[in-house]
Symmetry: C2
């Protein structure tokens, strides 16, 4: 069992130095934390399982583009625990080699979520191709390495300065607010919370029919007036007729109402797993 007072641990993140996930981890847990860049979200989970990192940070939801479905799938596949959440406002920059002008740009590289979040800006550029990359900071690193003067990346201001690149345009994301929610993962659950403390509990369950069974499952929370803050549905891989439901409840696992609801859910749903209980972050 981990306590938030435990000594600093290495934090694994997806991307290269300058990634938004890394920035979220450092802003939240202190600039001096050691971080471990991973080439894919799956490798963040693997780094924790192998003990190469003590914590992992992963994006779970974007205010502009919705849930990170890959993260939900990985939470299911691995046996890690959610030990925290944080919200980070994301300001995207268009990043290129020093001396390059916007009119020279023919290709823009970034993570698909970032390209999608900057849709309006990109639609105003003529003859420019958007090309998906696996992460934002890696896109900057590639353009730097290859000396491409006709290309730009969408990434953080910090990624631009880490690679000695120039910011051509700032805050190019669509309005209104571009906020990402990140989860902090650990190999063990947090120690139980006092039942009065503001906390989130995340869980996942399956249902075989969306009518009576799903409604009964939801009723265990609704009839106790437990506040749900997120519902995410995913079909079970390979089956279009069985469903996974991910729920966030704004209450601690030790709350007697949550305990009673979970006991009843276990009677009704074929399969239930608690993903974690962690302090509730302030929505940015």
């Amino acid at each position: 069992v981990l306590r938030s007072s435990d000594p600093p641990e290495v934090i694994a993140f997806h991307g290269e130095p300058g990634a938004f996930s890394e920035a979220a981890a450092l802003a939240w847990l202190g600039e001096k934390r050691a971080t471990l860049p991973c080439p894919s979200p799956a490798e963040v989970f693997q780094a924790l399982e192998a003990g190469r990192a003590g914590r992992g940070i992963v994006p779970i939801e974007h205010s502009l583009t919705g849930s990170e479905h890959r993260t939900y799938d990985l939470l299911l596949k691995h046996r890690l625990h959610i030990v925290g959440e944080t919200y980070l406002p994301i300001a995207h920059c268009l990043v290129a080699h020093p001396g390059v002008k916007l009119a020279q740009i023919r290709r823009i590289y970034s993570h698909p979520q970032a390209l999608e979040q900057c849709r309006t800006f990109l639609s105003q550029l003529n003859g420019v191709r958007s090309i998906p990359e696996s992460n934002t900071s890696g896109a900057v690193a590639q353009i730097k390495k290859r000396g491409r003067m006709d290309a730009a990346a969408i990434a953080s201001e910090r990624a631009a300065s880490l690679y000695g690149m120039k910011v051509l345009a700032r805050s190019i994301e669509d309005p209104p607010a571009n906020i990402t929610r990140f989860l902090l993962l650990g190999p063990e659950p947090l120690a139980p919370f006092p039942s009065k403390k503001r906390a989130e509990t995340s869980l996942v369950f399956t249902v075989r029919d969306l009518s009576r069974q799903f409604f009964s499952c939801l009723s265990v929370f609704a009839l106790r007036e437990l506040p749900l803050t997120k519902i995410e549905t995913r079909p079970v891989r390979g089956r279009l007729t069985q469903f996974l439901f991910y729920l966030d409840i704004a209450a601690p696992l030790a709350d007697p109402n949550v305990e009673a609801a979970l006991a009843q859910l276990r009677e009704l749903a074929p399969w239930v797993r608690v993903l974690g209980c962690y302090p509730e972050a302030k929505r940015a």
Copy 2:
């Protein structure tokens, strides 16, 4: 109002000739239908709105990788109607220039969904990079055009033969079954169905809280024992605390129970829109 007996119309699809969407349209509606390739899913919707096509076909869900979230967003943005659904088993092939051997391949291009559906196959290749492209058949066309002998695409067998390319490996998708559900869109709704006919009704509504309001909204279906076959949640763009729910009900809109449920839903939800009522397809 459209009838299924209306004369053939041009069908818009995303991708280039040989795309799975085009194959689904032709298998379903007849090989002689005229098709209109579009460079993005958004342009399928635009082609219909501008009258350049009479029907559009779009993927909505994959048995291996879940929902096409972009399609859900586009259904909301545009004022088109769902007029049909179909299921197509998707067999992926690795496609390269004739004479190229698997050991020569260093890069594999395809749509991100196809790359994800072939995850196991790709993980067994060493030193090969997966590169996302906007569509499967377009990836074949690019490799053909550029004469790249170290690259392959994941696409349909039909795309390989249309471009005079060779299939290096067949059915490379993960087990169990890789089935895609497609929706057929039109500028007008279908004429009302007899209330006894097997039909699907698709709708979308918003809720401001996930506890009491969402539960009340679901109760209008559950208390009438209406069979829901799909629930898809999306946060409202730019807000992490308001939610959109997309529902499919296995009953026609003209069913008095569906009519009563919708009337009650309109009292409870801030906003409701019916996306279409169409004949129920047999799940492949």
